[in-house]
């Protein structure tokens, strides 16, 4: 009996450890991976997600702020759309024996209506002073913090914005702001920033609602990416979410610096070089960091759709399409070109008439 006792103890300990491990496996796991260099398709997918929101903002401006033209406001709009983080989360599950996917797209911050209203209807930002002694105008009263609404009102506004989003459907859905309610996800306010408006949080809340409404079954896998580092409170919320709904979560989040991730090695090997504060390919001059590449791609989206030039704006009777910061005379329209060309928007391609050739 005395010989058997240690063996029994080992067997019992093994059983206890195994049972504990199997319980942990059943509750799901959370893995977060930091991405520095642009690899795979993460940037491509986040860029595609961002495009949905830029398109929606264009539709909103076309409807409500078509005649606004102050350059300083457009600058604020560009910044707001470019710097808001985005998240794209894919929920993989099996339904009736067939694999299915539902993709949740989210952009951080308040609803587009709120963002546009604070930019186009609120005070403008202070202008650059000509000299240290120059008097500050009324614009200096601009408050950097936009007017904030209660979360419930913000959620209602965000839902009302649905009509501006035309690219979503059954498989790809938008994750709006959701009011606090029956949820295992608790958002914290950290440094005056409500994490409820983080894109990954919005996406998780939307998935949770779908799980509760039985739109999708539990026990699936969640994969995706976020354009900025996931906050600690969101990470904790993910663990609770994973445990409650038995969902494995694996996310990539972009880290905006190559320090400690082979920066010196890349530069010393001659593969990369630093251009201002960007790490670029030594041969092609292309940014190597995923966050830099995404930033540039989103700037391009905004330039194509939301810039005054893209919207056919005029400023002091001079169309933005003809404005240039190059030093030199501005090309004036010829007499033969007519006088009514002060706001040429992008024209659709019209096929030529084969008969007349016009």
């Amino acid at each position: 009996m005395t010989r058997m006792r240690p063996r029994l103890l080992v067997v019992l300990a093994t059983v206890v450890v195994l049972s504990a491990t199997s319980r942990a496996r059943a509750t799901g796991t959370v893995e977060l991976e930091r991405m520095t260099l642009d690899e795979g398709n993460v940037t491509a997918f986040l860029e595609a997600t961002s495009q949905h929101f830029v398109d929606a903002m264009r539709a909103l401006i076309d409807e409500r702020y078509r005649d606004e033209y102050r350059a300083i406001r457009w600058e604020a709009l560009e910044e707001a759309m470019r710097d808001a983080p985005v998240a794209r989360l894919e929920y993989h599950f099996t339904l009736n024996g067939f694999p299915n996917v539902r993709v949740y797209h989210a952009m951080g911050g308040r609803s587009l209506s709120s963002v546009a209203r604070s930019i186009f209807e609120g005070p403008t930002r202070p202008g650059t002073p000509d000299s240290p002694l120059s008097p500050s105008g009324s614009e200096s009263e601009f408050e950097l913090v936009p007017n904030t609404l209660p979360v419930a009102e913000e959620a209602a506004l965000d839902l009302a914005d649905d009509r501006f989003y035309t690219g979503f459907g059954e498989i790809s859905v938008r994750a709006p702001v959701r009011a606090r309610g029956a949820s295992v996800l608790d958002a914290f306010v950290v440094a005056d920033k409500d994490r409820l408006f983080d894109p990954e949080f919005k996406a998780l809340r939307s998935l949770e609602k779908d799980l509760q409404d039985q739109v999708v079954p539990g026990g699936g896998r969640l994969r995706g990416s976020v354009s900025e580092l996931v906050c600690t409170s969101c990470e904790n919320a993910m663990r609770r979410f994973s445990d409650t709904y038995a969902i494995d979560i694996r996310l990539s989040h972009l880290y905006p610096s190559a320090r400690g991730a082979g920066l010196d090695e890349l530069v010393s090997s001659g593969k990369a070089r630093l251009r201002r504060n960007l790490l670029v390919d030594a041969v092609t001059d292309r940014p190597l960091l995923a966050s830099d590449l995404l930033h540039g791609a989103r700037e391009g989206q905004i330039r194509r759709l939301l810039s005054p030039r893209a919207m056919g704006r005029s400023f002091k009777r001079m169309p933005w399409s003809r404005r240039s910061f190059r030093l030199g005379p501005i090309r004036l329209p010829r007499v033969s070109e007519g006088a009514s060309q002060d706001s040429p928007p992008a024209q659709p391609r019209i096929p030529k008439d084969p008969a007349t050739g016009c």
Partner: protein, 227 residues
């Protein structure tokens, strides 16, 4: 991919084919443990390869493949190398080349536009100029010429509207209405015969008795004028 979409949508098939090439290359070059976190989905590749019909390819898979190509169309990376080590084509030209290969695989009603020496065949190869509808000799054409052709071709394929399929009742109704039209035409044949017979009598080829027989058949088709 063209076996899924059919030649009618070969330009779309070319986009998906290039996306599948990109995805396959990523699967080969990336460590399997990191594929999920980098957004490289091997399941998409296998599902599309296994599909027997276009309906079997999920919308998600289509979106996935489209995003891969879209990203590379916008952000062309200069200095890349193809799998064979040669200079990689820009993605737009690559898609156009695949679409051109599909066009060649479809075959031509008239003469093949290239000679066996891969040169444009005089008279049958198109010039790519506006109004010249003849097919290009793709193997000899420049990337830009093929891309121009691709843009026109994809536009043409996008505008194509399929014919409505008719069910059995609609086909029967069509047949009956065609028969009724033929029955309406029958009296005109009789009238025509009577007029021709009259002419033949004038030319003394027919006797008046034979012409009367033809006229009687035509008269039976009309109501006589009330006397």
């Amino acid at each position: 991919m063209v076996d899924l979409t059919g030649f009618r949508h070969s330009t779309r098939a070319a986009t998906y084919a290039v996306a599948m090439q990109i995805l396959r290359q990523q699967l080969i070059e990336t460590d399997a443990a990191r594929q999920a976190s980098l957004g490289i989905d091997k399941d998409v590749f296998h599902r599309v390869m296994k599909a027997a019909y276009l309906d079997q390819v999920a919308t998600y898979d289509m979106h996935y493949l489209t995003t891969l190509v879209q990203h590379r169309l916008i952000h062309w990376q200069v200095g890349g190398r193809a799998t064979a080590g040669s200079r990689a084509l820009p993605t737009a030209f690559r898609v156009a080349r695949v679409a051109a290969a599909y066009r060649d695989a479809q075959g031509y009603f008239s003469e093949y536009p290239c000679t066996p020496g891969a040169m444009p065949r005089a008279g049958s190869a198109g010039t790519g100029a506006e109004g010249d509808e003849r097919p290009l000799c793709f193997v000899a054409a420049t990337d830009r010429a093929i891309h121009r052709w691709y843009v026109d071709e994809s536009d043409r394929q996008a505008r194509w509207v399929p014919e409505r399929e008719h069910d059995g009742m609609q086909r029967l109704a069509g047949f009956v209405s065609a028969m009724l039209v033929l029955l309406d035409l029958a009296p005109f044949i009789e009238m025509f015969e009577a007029v021709v017979a009259d002419d033949l009598v004038t030319a003394r080829v027919f006797t008046p008795a034979e012409a009367d027989m033809a006229a009687e058949r035509a008269d039976g088709l009309f109501c006589p004028f009330p006397e």
